[in-house]
C-alpha cells in the first residue's frame, strides 16, 4: 500500500522559530476577515436576510487561525454550529458561506443547510454540526479513517465548553485513546455554554478531561494567535507522530451573545468590555506588528480595505444569489446509486 511520507512538524519547544512578518500579517488578515464577516452577518441578520440561528465567532478568531496555521493539506476539520470562522480559516469562499447564511442557491449547501450546516470536501471541512457534542465522535471517525487509510493526515475536532459535558465526548476520548487515533480535540472555552458559565456547568479543569484516558491536555491563551500556533505545532507533531489524541483547551471569549437573540443577563457589560478592550486578539497582534516594525497604520489600512472588499462582495453575492429552485426540495435526500 502506498503511504504518504509527511514531514513531521518540529515541536515548537525545540525550534520555536520567530514568526515571520509574512506569517503575522497573514494571521492579522485572517482574523480580521472573520471578524468583519461576522459583523456583516450580524447586520444581515438584523435586516431579516439571515434567519434562524446565527452564532457569531467574534472574539475567538485567534483560536481557529492559529490552529489552521499548524495544519497540513489533507488534515480534516470539524466543529459545532459556531462555525463561520472555521470555514473561512479552512479557505472556504466567503461568498458561498454568506450565501448559505442567507439561504440562497449560491451557498455551500445550496441554501439547504444554513449557518450550522456547511461542508466542503475540497477544503476538508466536515461541518458545521448542530447537535452539541455530536461532532466529537464524527471527528474521531474522520481520524479513524485517516489511520485506516494510512494517509498521514490528522483530524482537528473543535468543541465548546458546553459540549464537554456530553457523554459522547468521553465515548470518543476512550476510543481515540484506545486506538491511538490522530485527532486533536480543541476545546474552545469561551466561558459560557449559552448563558451558563463554566463554573456553574463544569467541575474541574477542562484540559484535564482526557487524563483518565491518558490523553495529554494543555491550557492555552486562546486570545493570542501566537500562543495558539505554538501549542498547535506541538499538538500536531504529537498527534501526527502516532501517539494518539491530544486535548488543547483554548481560553477564549465571545463578545456577542450565544446566538442572535441573547438576553445578555448572565454576564456583566464590564466583563465583556474588559475582554474587548484589554485582550482582543486583533488589537494584540496589531500592537505586535507595530512594535516589530512589520506594519504601520497605512499598511494595515490596505489590509482592512482588502478584507472589507471581500466581505462586501460576499454580502452582495449573498443577497443577489437566487433562492434555491423549488425542485431542490426533493434533491439530495439519497445518493442515486
Amino acid at each position: 500500500m502506498a503511504t504518504t511520507t509527511r514531514r513531521r512538524a518540529k515541536p515548537a519547544e525545540n525550534a520555536a522559530p520567530e514568526p515571520t512578518q509574512e506569517e503575522l500579517l497573514h494571521y492579522y488578515k485572517e482574523m480580521l476577515l472573520i471578524r468583519r464577516f461576522e459583523e456583516k452577518a450580524g447586520q444581515l441578520y438584523g435586516m431579516g436576510l439571515i434567519g434562524g440561528f446565527c452564532h457569531l465567532y467574534i472574539g475567538q478568531e485567534a483560536v481557529v487561525v492559529g490552529m489552521q496555521a499548524a495544519q497540513l493539506p489533507g488534515d480534516s476539520v470539524i466543529t459545532s454550529y459556531r462555525d463561520h470562522g472555521h470555514m473561512l480559516a479552512c479557505g472556504m469562499d466567503a461568498k458561498g458561506v454568506m450565501a448559505e447564511l442567507t439561504g440562497r442557491a449560491g451557498g455551500y449547501s445550496k441554501g439547504k443547510g444554513g449557518s450550522m450546516h456547511m461542508f466542503s470536501r475540497e477544503k476538508n471541512f466536515y461541518g458545521g454540526h448542530g447537535i452539541v457534542g455530536a461532532q466529537t465522535p464524527i471527528g474521531t471517525g474522520l481520524a479513524f479513517a485517516h489511520k485506516y487509510k494510512k494517509d498521514g493526515c490528522i483530524d482537528v475536532c473543535y468543541l465548546g465548553d458546553g459540549a464537554v459535558n456530553q457523554g459522547q465526548v468521553y465515548e470518543s476520548f476512550n476510543m481515540a485513546a484506545l486506538w491511538k487515533l490522530p485527532v486533536i480535540y480543541v476545546i474552545e472555552n469561551n466561558k459560557y455554554a449559552m448563558g451558563t458559565s463554566q463554573q456553574r456547568a463544569s467541575a474541574g479543569e477542562l484540559y484535564l478531561r482526557g487524563s483518565a484516558y491518558g490523553i495529554p491536555g494543555k491550557q492555552v491563551n486562546g486570545m493570542d494567535v501566537l500562543e495558539v500556533k505554538k501549542a498547535a505545532d506541538e499538538a500536531v507533531a504529537y498527534v501526527r507522530g502516532g501517539n494518539g489524541p491530544m486535548i488543547l483547551e483554548m481560553k477564549t471569549y465571545r463578545y456577542r451573545g450565544h446566538s442572535m437573540s441573547d438576553p445578555a443577563k448572565y454576564r456583566t457589560k464590564e466583563e465583556v468590555n474588559k475582554m474587548r478592550s484589554e485582550y482582543d486578539c486583533i488589537d494584540h497582534l496589531k500592537s505586535l506588528l507595530f512594535t516589530k516594525g512589520y506594519a504601520d497604520e497605512e499598511s494595515l489600512k490596505v489590509i482592512d480595505r482588502d478584507v472589507k472588499a471581500v466581505v462586501t462582495e460576499a454580502a452582495d453575492f449573498a443577497t443577489t444569489s437566487p433562492e434555491p429552485d423549488a425542485s431542490e426540495l426533493w434533491t439530495d435526500i439519497l445518493v442515486e446509486a
Binding site: 445550496k110 456547511m118 466536515y126 485506516y148 457523554g167 476512550n174 452582495d316
Partner: protein, 470 residues
Amino acid sequence: MPIDILMPALSPTMTEGKLAKWVKKEGDTIKAGDVIAEIETDKATMEVEAVDEGTLAKILVPEGTENVAVNTAIALLAGEGESASDVSAAKGASNTPSAPKTEPAQGEAAVTPKEEASKAAPAAPAVKAPVAPPPSDEDRFFKNTQTMTVREALRDAMAEEMRKDGSVFVMGEEVAEYQGAYKVTQGLLQEFGPDRVIDTPITEHGFAGLAVGAAFGGLRPVVEFMTFNFSMQAIDHIINSAAKTLYMSGGQMGCPIVFRGPNGAAARVAAQHSQEYSSWYAHIPGLKVVSPYSAADAKGLLKAAIRDPNPVVFLENEILYGHSFEVPTDPDFIIPIGRAKIERAGTDVTITAFSLQVGMALAAADKLAEQGISAEVINLRSIRPLDVHTIVESVKKTNRLVSVEEGWPFAGIGAEMSAVMMEHAFDYLDAPVVRVHGKDVPMPYAANLEKLALPQVDDVVTAAKAVLYR
C-alpha cells in the same frame, strides 16, 4: 452619501422593538464593531454594533422610543470626508423611516425568503402513481443453490464484500474475538484481521458516531448493534448525522454505512430487549430500511446494503438466525433494495409481512388453503423504499389486504399500508385493511403473556377471514 443605520431584528419573528438607549451621541466617531445603541423586546436586549466606520451624524429615533419597526432608519452615519452638518443639511431632521439601505444594492431591494415563501412547492412524488421496483434478475441465480442458515448468509455477504472492497470494515461489540454475540461475524477476524474487524467498547452512541465520521472520511463501515434495542443510544447519529447530512450539505456528504443487528422480540427477554424498530427508522427521509426473511434475502440484501452509497438500517431477527434456506451459490447474487417478493401467489387476499412474520404469514396461508382460501403472501424485504407497486398490483387482483408486523400498531407499518391503500388502491378494495401487530403494551416477561403480546398464525388466519367476511 451618508449611510442609514437600520433598526435590527433580534429574531426572524421580531417586527418591532424598543430603542432602549443610545450609547453613542451625535458627532461621535464610530469604528466598525462599536456598540452604538441598545434595543429591547420582551424577550431579550441586544447591542447594535456598527458595521461601517464614520461619524454619527444624526439620531433619527430618540432613546426610549417604543414600537420601532424593524429596518426603520434609526440614525445616519457620515462616511469619510463627509461632515455631520452635510448630512443634516441633506437629510434634514426627518424622522421618516427610509427604505432599507444599500444592502442589497439598489433597485433589486432585499427579496426576503418570507416574501417568496408563498410560491407553491412542487407536488410530493408520493402522490404519483406507484413506480415499478428496480429491475432484478435474482430468479436466475436460484438454479444453483446451497442450504445455509440466515446467520451464515449474513457472514458470507460481509466476507464477500470485504474481499471485494478494502474500505469495508465491521465494527461493534463482540464482533471480533468473541466471534459475534450471535455468531454472525464468525471467522471474519481470522480472515480480515483486527484492523477491519473491530471490537468496540460498549459505547453505542460513540461508535455509531465514529462510524459515521469514518463514512464521511471515505470508508464503508458495517456497524453491528448487538441488538437494535441498543441503537436508541445511538439514534441521534443514525438520524441527525447519517441520514440528514447529505441534504444539509447540498449533496456533498454522502454517508455509505450499514447499521445492522437483530431487531424485535427474541424470547423471554422482556420489554427493554424486545422492541421492533422498522417504523421508527422508516419514518426518516435519508435512510433506507430493509428487513430480510430468508437466508437468500439476508445475503442478497446485505450485499446491496454494503454497496449502497446511503445509510441503510438492516433489521435482522435473532430467531431467524438459525433457520435454513436455499441460497444461490453465485457470488454475484444480489437483491436490489426496494423490491418486495411474492413468496406465495394467491387470488383471494393479499398478506404483507416482513422478517419473522413472513413465516407466520406463510403458515397462515397453508391453513387458509385448507379452508379453500387462496392467500397471496408478499415478503416486503425493503421497508423504505417500500415496493408500493407490487403491493398495489396484488391488491388490484385480490381486493383485500392484511398487514402483519411484530411491532406496535400506532403509526406502524400497518398504518402505512392502510394509507398506501387509501392513496393508491381505494377503488380496488372490497374490505377495509386489517392490521395484525404486536399488542400495544411493553413486552411482558411471563411466557403466556409474551405469547399473547406477539402476533400468532391464528391471528393472521382470523384477519384474512375477516377481510373476506367469512
